[in-house]
Symmetry: C2
Subunit: 244 residues, 2 copies
């Protein structure tokens, strides 16, 4: 908490960066209390509003939490997977929607990453996770389901598959890839026959997971990817012919 001023012309950003670096470097450990806003203003020689803007930046990244009252203040927050999930999903979603990433590219990445989980999930899935997959398959088979509900169930199915690997780091990384696809998937309207094919492939995945057969899971995911890609292609082709 000294000098080393980047002096980029934005005081609150500089201060936030300095404190963030101290946290990442381990100089500030979690649950450790930062100096009060008044003390920080003195140390950095800026006004309290400026310090507050810096602290809000850190709070937005879940790096600190604040508490009011006599023993209150800003505390280094233990960054939990729970907190990181929504951020990861928001960022991934915006990356896809703002950078003209093609459906093809996003889909390829998603299934490549999921296949990475296949052998682990086949080996370790709990009965609970398998039951979740079966339950989502059942939901997807219900007629009269809206396209959105179908997609949401699809996401839940795939998340159960990923969580089956029993590796929180994998689950975290995959959350972004899987959830961020949902807006893209929602652009597709599924016919009854489309759904039947997808559900059948989901059954293949679940069966392979149940049999602890990693390669079969990977193969089923590859088939599912191909089905999804060709489905999207035909939808986009039709949309080019009859633009709304």
């Amino acid at each position: 908490m000294k000098n080393a001023s980047p002096k980029s012309g934005d005081l609150s950003a500089d201060i936030a960066a300095q404190i963030r670096d101290a946290i990442v470097a381990g100089d500030l450990r979690f649950d450790e209390r930062l100096p009060s806003e008044a003390e920080l203003s003195e140390q950095f020689d800026v006004s309290r509003p400026t310090v507050r803007e810096a602290l809000k930046r850190l709070a937005a990244q879940s790096l600190i939490r604040t508490q009011r009252g006599a023993t209150g203040g800003a505390f280094v927050k233990r960054l939990s997977f729970e907190d990181a999930y929504p951020q990861q999903i928001t960022t991934s979603t915006l990356l896809l929607s703002m950078n003209a990433v093609s459906f093809e590219t996003a889909c390829e990445a998603r299934y490549a990453l999921e296949r990475a989980c296949a052998p682990l999930s086949a080996a370790r899935r709990t009965p609970d996770q398998l039951a979740t997959m079966r339950a989502e398959i059942h939901r997807q088979s219900q007629p009269g389901l809206t396209d959105e509900a179908f997609c949401a169930s699809d996401v839940a199915f795939h998340r159960a598959l990923v969580d089956g690997a029993g590796n929180p780091v994998l689950s975290y990384q995959l959350a972004g890839a899987v959830e961020a696809m949902q807006p893209l998937m929602n652009m597709i309207t599924f016919t009854a026959r489309d759904r039947a094919r997808i559900v059948a492939l989901h059954v293949s995945v679940a069966d392979a997971v149940e049999a602890h057969d990693g390669p079969a899971v990977a193969q089923a995911l590859t088939d599912l990817e191909q089905e999804t890609q060709s489905l999207a292609e035909s939808v986009f082709a039709q949309r080019r012919k009859h633009p709304s």
Copy 2:
């Protein structure tokens, strides 16, 4: 930009959330200008400092950029992969260091994800990316390299492999997994013989990539994972016997 107030007791967080939702939902498109701080204070019926704290939160997530001057203001920012990279890396690093994630778990996730890139990278890698991999291998073979420099080169090697897949979404997701491992890898001191084994495996990877042989790349990565895991195990075992 009106009601739907979550009223969580934190005005700037609520306002930030409302604007963020509008951006994610697509109501505000990129490069679109937000109302001025004065106008926002009126619309949300709060003071300007409070609005500013909300805007700083959004800026911390790279959702907006601000410009001074007559035609200035806050603009919705096109979230670029470039901006998202460091955030992803910071978050992943903190998740590992603050949640007692074992070396084993992190390493497993990393190599599982890298194997997902193997077939794509084998098929598509450019000569440039292959050259980068060879160059890093050469650097790693230099005697007298510090452990940190060795690890940094290791990261560069693996990033070239991942980038070889030619899928920006994959590169983005993997950046977190690969870079966040570096602090953990730095805890290991490599003997000359350790390095030689790792470099030999890197050569296997590069050879397989050069030969466009996806399965061989995956196999080499699996070998590399096993080597890394057993190396870490022996280091930690020794540390338990002779704690510093």
